[in-house]
Symmetry: none
Subunit: 216 residues, 4 copies
DNA sequence: TATGAATGAGGCTTCATTCAT
DNA sequence: TATGAATGAAGCCTCATTCAT
């Protein structure tokens, strides 16, 4: 079986090569400039060969989207051990998530705006019970439970809270990508406020008062 | 003048026909699948005639975007007079906004995800001082000021709050559009929670406690 | 008949209007940018009406070409009376011709490069006996005969001489138009040399020696 | 390598096929009627395949122009060794040049009337010092220097002379192409006169007298 | 006389995909 | 496994021309 294994491995490498090239093109030119020809050019093969590794262009795109999502999840989990205090963990993770997403705007947009089942498998967050399938939600729920451990909420309440946070973070990232000309300073002002204030409000922590205004 | 008037009316109708067709295509296939050819096919005219009514494809798109924008603004302002109580007004307006946006998903997406200056002129919300240019933000700020009239916040704090709300609403709408297969029930659960709880948290109203859990 | 006459006059005026507009477009944008629509725009009528005055675009073009040629001929004849001395007249006329042609490069090119019989009727210069049809040749032949009146050449010889001059002048103008980036100074150096030396050589006047080199 | 070689050869053949078709179209309809579609039709392939062999339409045109240029240069240089006597060489070369040009009228016209820098690189003849860049001028200057070696002229005078000859030859070729209906007999009469008389006059050889009239 | 609507052909070009080799 | 040739559909757009009014 060694031969077949090696073949499979080589095939896998080629697939990766193609996906990387595609990712680069998307990063540089945007998703609708991606074409089989451009991929072929970049990997220095002929366009036709790509069809040996993927059925068609959509296939490639879907693979790509899922991969992008994986990256973000990985980034998220790096925050898992960051602090004992759940609120700190929540803030760290959110900031991580936002920054990772902003570092690969095209893939993030493409993945998060893609409605194909292949991609939604990874990105869907709104259905009831999504926590069990979606690591980002799962992580948030853990934090939220921890935060409210003295006056426990129902699973359902916690999930809704987490979903609202995910939704809002998504909105922030998306608009920052769209309004790309925004000044850096204002960009970080918004992110800071989101992480330091808004999330905590959504997590049900803050009272009436803003946090002393110093961060504003 | 009757002749000329009738002609003008007919021209306007044709323009509307074209715009409707375009909207439908965007709705079905997404914005980057819109083409002059597809529009022509749908209205059962030759492609060239479209250039009789619009200078070029971008023209059509811009018209479409600004129409979408108008609809939303109209929806918003209908909430203006809805109630004396600012919290109610806030909730009404948000719900209105969300529902209007969801009623024309692809136009909304197209408008809100478009980075061209022409469109951003209407949709940009994140820059400092956006309140002065963006009616949705302006409306939110008015409510927020009213809500906090007993312990006034700075203009800047209020704007940030409003921006966070806009961002979150945008995130919600966007994800609902992407996860279009979501069950209706869950969809309205999320919207209700957003309008009845999340917004109020973001507006700095709610304390630690959820509102009795009745809406969950 | 007064009514019909007036109608005809008005029709003629419209035709002129159209031709003028066409000429202007050709002058500004070059001949292959000429279109019925552009003409219509310029005269502030609808494109269709143009077909009331001309059968088609080619018609317009042909009319235009002949007109351009007429202008040049007119310019030529202004030299007719310039001097008693035939050599001076020859030089004057040639310079006039060249300068008029250079002042309307697009029309000149278009007219002179057009092979349609309608235009050739005016521009053809090479056939035997062309002198009788072509005023430019006729004028040249007159000068040449005058110049050589002491040792008369045959009509045929004179015509050949004139044709060579016409050909050469045409070559000069054409290349100056093509090599439009040429420095002004060099441009006039070439024209001067052509008028002061080359023509005289072709007219059989000069001997071995250049004219003292002062003009070079 | 045989496979690759054969492929390359076939590719070259296809390129030639395309260029020939283009030349034919230009010959029949003029340069601004050339289109990818027409070429495709003529070679009985689909339009898109043409982009497999050339990057774009301009590419094809440029190839065509430079081929035309090469042909002429080759024709010219074949006259280089034709005779010891410089006057004979001058006459031979000129005749060669004219005949080569007339054998590919539309390519010649297209090349010589093209104002794009890419083409002018090859065809520009009027600027001061053009002799150093333009083989045709260079060849002429060599002859002229040789002819006048007993009473040398300045480089500058020689270049002007050569330029006048080039201009006149260009004018002759061009008008022969435009007046394509001219009788063969008259056509050769003009060429003969140009080569046997006019050039020599322009080269500063002939005196007052025509060469015995025998050629007329 | 004059118009606006409409078309079909044609302009360049890019692309996903198939197929023979 | 890999290639190059080839196509047909599609992208945007311009134009000459016709026709009903």
């Amino acid at each position: 079986m060694s031969l077949e294994e090696r073949r499979e491995r080589e095939k896998e490498e080629m697939r990766k090569l193609i996906l990387d090239a595609a990712a680069e093109i998307i990063f540089l030119d945007g998703i609708d400039k991606l074409s089989i020809r451009k991929i072929a050019e970049r990997i220095e093969y002929s366009p036709s060969i790509i069809y040996h590794y993927f059925n068609n262009k959509d296939n490639i795109l879907n693979q790509l989207m899922s991969n992008a999502y994986q990256k973000i999840i990985t980034a998220l989990s790096s925050a898992k051990l960051s602090s004992d205090h759940p609120v700190e963990r929540l803030k760290d993770a959110t900031r991580n998530y936002i920054e990772t997403a902003l570092s690969m705007p095209n893939e993030y947009n493409a993945a998060q705006l893609n409605s194909s089942p292949d991609v939604l498998k990874y990105t869907a967050s709104l259905f009831r019970g999504a926590t069990n399938k979606n690591p980002a939600l799962a992580f948030l729920c853990d934090c939220l439970k921890d935060i409210h451990k003295n006056a426990p909420r129902s699973e359902s309440e916690i999930e809704l809270m987490a979903q609202m946070i995910v939704i809002a973070a998504f909105g922030l990232i998306m608009r920052l990508n769209v309004e790309a000309e925004l000044e850096e300073k204002q960009k970080y002002r918004l992110i800071d406020h989101f992480v330091n204030v808004t999330i905590l409000q959504m997590a049900g922590i803050y009272t009436n008062n803003m946090p002393g205004g110093k961060s504003i």
